[in-house]
Amino acid sequence: MTRDLLVLAPVRRALRFRPFQFLAIVPAALVVAVVVASTWFGIDHPGFNFGTVFTWVVWWGALLLSFVFLGRAWCLVCPIGAAGEWVQRLRLWGRSRYTAGLELPWPRRLRNLWLATGLFLVFVWLDNGYGMSNSPRLTAGLIAVLTLASAWIGLVFERRAFCRYVCPLTAFIGLNSLFSTLELRRREAEVCRADCATKDCYRGNATTYGCPMGEFPGGAMDTNLLCILCTECIKGCGHDNIGLRLRAPGRDLWAMRRPRADGAFAAVTVVGLATLIPLVTYAWLPKVRGLLAGVLPAGIPPNDPPRLVAVGLLFAIGLGASVALVYGFSFLSRRAAGARALPARALFVHYAYALIPLGLFKFLADLLDHALRTWGALGDVTRALLLDFPLNRTVAGRVTVVHLLGPVETYLIQILLLLGGLLFTLFALHRISLRLFDDREVALASFLPMAGLGVVLTLVSLWMLGAPLL
């Protein structure tokens, strides 16, 4: 069941309004500007700085919830991606006949998610090794570097090459958005195939741009993976054949026609970051850091080589374990189904996407706990920011503790979230198995090992979150 929001006249008018995206970006850009000012000039402690507290409670929470309900809506309003587009188009919203950019095509070998996933891992290592999210100055520096990279790539390459191939968050955002209850798609395939000769949704026309992400909404685009909801195709389609539909959550996970290895690896990376990688790091970081301190010169954290190497090493072990587990269970799935024609690698690529809800709901469970703990601090830092707006040099004297929910109640909600993620994963795995195998018994045989992996990862998350109470 789907419902097309574009049949509602106010929604249609708003999304076809030329400055729509610009007007959506402006508030986000203002908030990011305040965050940058407070993190760069303000108090250099993440617990007292508005920018870091806001980022890791409000922004992070809104981002995770947007995956569930709005897909890549953050990319629609992201001022970092917009910076590249603005310098390229020399316009804030209008269709320009000129460009400031070289409009070079993105290198063919890099037209995948491998680079973005690699940069995401580097970003996560820097974050956890150097404590980037733990340092207001580094947070400001990261936003500045990403904005400059977006602008530079916008000047050299065509469309939003930064957002599609380089942004360290593109795979994370795109994959989680596969779960979304919102999708932008063509309405009738036949209209695009037979009646449309111009393909304006991809190429653009005199008044609109072609898809900035290089997608073909009237053709092959069958998932939310790369759709940033910029609404350019809605404006450009001369046949009024693009819809913005509400749908059942998670449909992309099992309905995508061509799952790819780069996306599958990125999916396992995201799920690993929510489950196994923190487990390995949590269990062994002090020991491994201690061992490395015997061979590497120790420093003052975060510039502490043994710790930096230990974090990198344990991340590699955790990621390797995640990939090995999903591949191993794909192998078991193949053995169980007796599917000689289908290699384990193919099952890995198909089934990996179905694990995404496990990661997404674990992140949501983590966020719930963090937001409840730091809700009081958000009020403190906001008051401190207003006293010295926007430089945030005033220390919020103490941190207010607001007791919104007790630990047992919080844990119960986390259990519900994690079980919800597991149910979505099991459903997606089952649908994929039915697509891969005609025989229902063989499909069930292939499904069971992957379902077992989902259950184990969920139990690991439940144990990790509940350990102090159990």
Partner: protein, 173 residues
């Protein structure tokens, strides 16, 4: 030869049980309770020294009695963290290498286990960065069953592997 579904159930049971056992052994070691011994101050306040690192607390459990008055001296060994016990109204913000001392707090809580948590976003392990405040005798908790669960999982894994091996030896139809 086994039917696909039977083979699948046995393979899944074996793999899941083996993985579960390994995970419990990996995590339960570092999770084991190591309690802090308080030093009794001249003012009658029980004082606890705690070291904090990404992503854990040392010790992992602090035992107090209902009605105790306690004080915490907390040092972060690496990056900046928080030390929060919401039930005691405490949220200390820590700076690397510098000791932060809490105000004296009276423990007016019923017996039970309460989480001690980091309250500053400090990376991927932040959500799991917790320790326990054990007030009085909380009785038997579900965590005590973990070694039993590990043993049962190991047995299930062994049984499934044995059944799979037996199934392979049977001639096909």
């Amino acid at each position: 030869m086994l039917r696909p579904l039977v083979r699948s159930v046995l393979l899944t049971t074996a793999a899941v049980a083996l993985l579960g056992t390994l995970t419990i052994w990996t995590v339960d070691g570092p999770q084991a309770l190591v309690s802090a011994s308080p030093t009794a101050g001249s003012d009658g306040v029980k004082e606890f020294s705690i070291r904090v690192h990404a992503w854990g607390f040392s010790p992992r459990a602090i035992r107090v009695e209902p009605g105790d008055t306690v004080r915490f001296r907390v040092v972060s060994d690496d990056i900046q963290h928080g030390f929060a016990i919401n039930e005691l109204g405490l949220n200390l913000q820590l700076v690397s290498g510098r000791e932060v001392r809490s105000p004296d707090v009276k423990v007016a809580l019923p017996p039970g286990k309460y989480p001690i948590q980091c309250s500053t976003f400090c990376g991927l392990g932040h959500p799991s960065m917790k320790a326990s405040l054990v007030v009085g005798n909380p009785g038997r908790t579900p965590g005590a069953t973990v070694p039993w669960i590990a043993s049962l999982l190991a047995l299930a894994a062994a049984g499934s592997f044995a059944a799979l091996a037996a199934g392979r030896r049977e001639p096909g139809p």
